[in-house]
């Protein structure tokens, strides 16, 4: 572990042009180390799939650099690219097995491409099916297998090419919780036993927690933050990170670590106007961008009750506080033990 095996440098991907242009990825730089399980998480549409597809060039980046296992992917000829892809396995949410081939023949597929003699290929494929715990279903067609079993066949199939890297795009998103755990265990097992570097794309925190060592958080095409999973989960530094880690709001004890917010204040609404106008007028009247760190408010008959935690930048915090204090039916206090 240590050496980067996948290096993404200033990766940018845009779809279309003109008004309808989609900025799927903006200036993403990530190093993924050999032997680790690296997670990429983000909400739907954040660009996760696009990012992982840029690694094996299923999608060509608009600009930037992709280096996998020492190879500058964008410089390869199409023949060299096909060779390079053989050492980058990929599994998908939809499994993408060949429906007209048996499980065994699916696993044989990459070996066929490599020109391995039929008998030898079948032998190797049987070993791999055994590894994924499917030895008994070698002659079954995908239509006869459950989702979890299909994903196992897909994993065995990518392993047949002896890849150095395994890309998983929402590989467990179509599976139930128990099967998800089993497949994640299998992926972890493969990572440990074969030293294959794994990149896991997901929108579920659970998946990251379960097997990843480091994680990158994508937010609308940008890299919000990246780091060791425990650190990011203990104290998410970005807005997107907090939204993912605390989808229901930030508990008070985490606030002390909201490092990029200089001042954290607790605002209590006692039946005045609802809170959106407050945030908006803070921005418009005071030029202060308040960050909602957490909220527990209720709208009753158009009047707001409850409390909200706001992060305020250092310059402008006083101005904002004065402004909030001047509002009717709103009280404000500095949140405890928050030192920025």
């Amino acid at each position: 572990m240590g050496e980067p095996i996948i290096q993404l440098r200033h990766l940018t991907k845009r779809f279309g042009s003109g008004d309808g242009q989609v900025r799927a990825l903006e200036d993403i730089s990530i190093d993924i180390r050999a032997g680790e399980i690296f997670g990429v998480i983000g909400l739907s549409g954040a660009g996760k799939s696009t990012l992982v597809r840029c690694i094996n060039l299923l999608e060509r980046p608009t600009s930037g650099e992709v280096v996998v296992d020492g190879r500058d992917m964008l410089r390869l000829s199409s023949k060299e690219l096909r060779e390079a892809r053989k050492s980058i396995g990929m599994i998908f949410q939809g499994f993408n097995l060949l429906m007209q081939r048996t499980a065994l023949d699916n696993v044989c597929f990459p070996l066929e491409l490599a020109g391995t003699p039929r008998r030898e290929a079948a032998g190797r494929a049987r070993e791999l099916l055994e590894l994924v715990d499917l030895a008994g279903r070698a002659d079954a067609y995908p239509a006869q297998l459950s989702g979890g079993q299909k994903q196992r066949v897909a994993i065995a199939r990518t392993l047949a090419a002896s890849p150095r890297v395994l890309l998983c795009d929402e590989a467990t998103s179509a599976l139930d919780p128990k099967t998800t755990r089993d497949i994640l265990r299998l992926i972890q097992d493969i990572n440990r036993r074969m030293g294959i570097t794994v990149v896991v794309i997901t929108h579920e925190m659970k998946v990251i927690e379960e097997i990843c060592s480091r994680v990158a958080i994508l937010d609308r095409g940008r890299l919000a933050e990246t780091g060791a999973v425990e650190e990011v989960f203990a104290s998410p530094k970005s807005e997107a990170g907090r939204r993912l880690v605390y989808p229901d709001g930030v508990p008070a004890e985490v606030l002390s670590t909201a490092a990029d917010q200089a001042r954290v204040v607790r605002v209590a609404f006692n039946g005045g106007t609802s809170y959106q106008p407050l945030i908006a007028s803070l921005a418009i009247d005071c030029g202060v961008k308040a960050n909602i760190l957490g909220a527990d408010t209720r709208n009753i008959d158009g009047r707001a009750f409850g409390t909200m935690l706001l992060g305020l930048p250092e310059d402008g915090a006083e101005k904002a506080l004065a402004y909030i204090r001047s509002q009717k039916d709103i009280t404000v206090e500095e949140a405890a033990d928050c030192h920025g």
């Binding site: 993408n96 060949l98 048996t102 491409l113 199939r157």
Partner: protein, 251 residues
């Protein structure tokens, strides 16, 4: 038996019953007509696939975003040519290519000569049928193959064609029935077969019994082709039926 049949038909008021029954009971002649009904369209279907299958593949993989994109102008010309050939009514096409038939087969009349216009009419049709089948292909599976380092050629031969096999077989059944129909029509201008029998003897000489007999035989032929085609397609489709145990026993 013949006399009884003639008597029966005459009792129904069928005119020219004697010559009709005599014609229908001439089995060698009838078999020859059935054979002519089959062989020209069969040969044409085969030749049409020789041209139409690669063309259909190119129409799918050559487009923008396809497995092996080809120059836009080339694709437009191909699409245009296919549409053009398909929009010429078959009988007119047949008359138009008579000189070509003379050139290739040496004559422009007779059943064999109809193979040329039949092929020419069927090839663009077949290419569209193939195109439709290949478009059913799950894009995800093609991406998985690309991610495994498949070349475009390998994707066509190892992924698209085998995965679309059931649909391609259905398409071929469809195509051969359509071409059989064209073949029957070709009876109007010199071709042989049941179509010609129904048209020339049946309709032309007002031999209504012969006409209906020929039509019924054509319907039966179509039914047989359809049944065989459907059975083959279903049997080859691994997404349905086929229990594992059956397969094991065959080994």
């Amino acid at each position: 038996m013949a006399e009884q049949l003639i008597a029966l038909l005459e009792s129904w008021g069928v005119s020219k019953a004697a010559s009709q029954v005599e014609y229908l009971l001439d089995f060698p002649e009838l078999l020859d007509q059935i054979w002519q009904t089959i062989y020209a369209p069969a040969a044409a279907t085969l030749l049409a696939y020789v041209i139409g299958l690669p063309l259909g593949i190119v129409l799918v993989i050559g487009e923008k975003g396809g497995v092996r994109p080809m120059p836009g102008p080339l694709m437009r010309v191909l699409n245009w040519a296919v549409n053009l050939l398909r929009s010429v009514p078959f009988l007119i096409l047949m008359a138009l290519v008579m000189p070509l038939s003379t050139l290739i087969i040496g004559t422009s009349v007779g059943t064999t000569a109809t193979i040329v216009p039949l092929t020419l009419a069927a090839a663009p049709y077949v290419s569209r049928i193939v195109e439709i089948s290949l478009r059913e292909m799950d894009r995800g599976v093609i991406e998985a193959a690309q991610a495994m380092g498949c070349s475009p050629w390998q994707i066509v031969t190892k992924v698209m064609l085998p995965e679309c096999r059931p649909s391609l077989i259905n398409g071929a059944t469809n195509a051969s029935i359509t071409i059989l129909g064209y073949g029957a029509m070709s009876g109007a201008i010199g071709g042989g077969g049941l179509g010609a029998v129904a048209l020339m003897r049946g309709y032309g000489r007002h031999w209504l019994v012969v006409m209906w007999a020929a039509v019924i035989l054509l319907v039966l032929l179509v039914q047989i082709i359809q049944s065989i085609g459907t059975a083959l397609s279903v049997k080859s489709d691994r997404r349905i039926n086929h229990s594992e145990s059956k397969r094991r026993k065959r080994k």
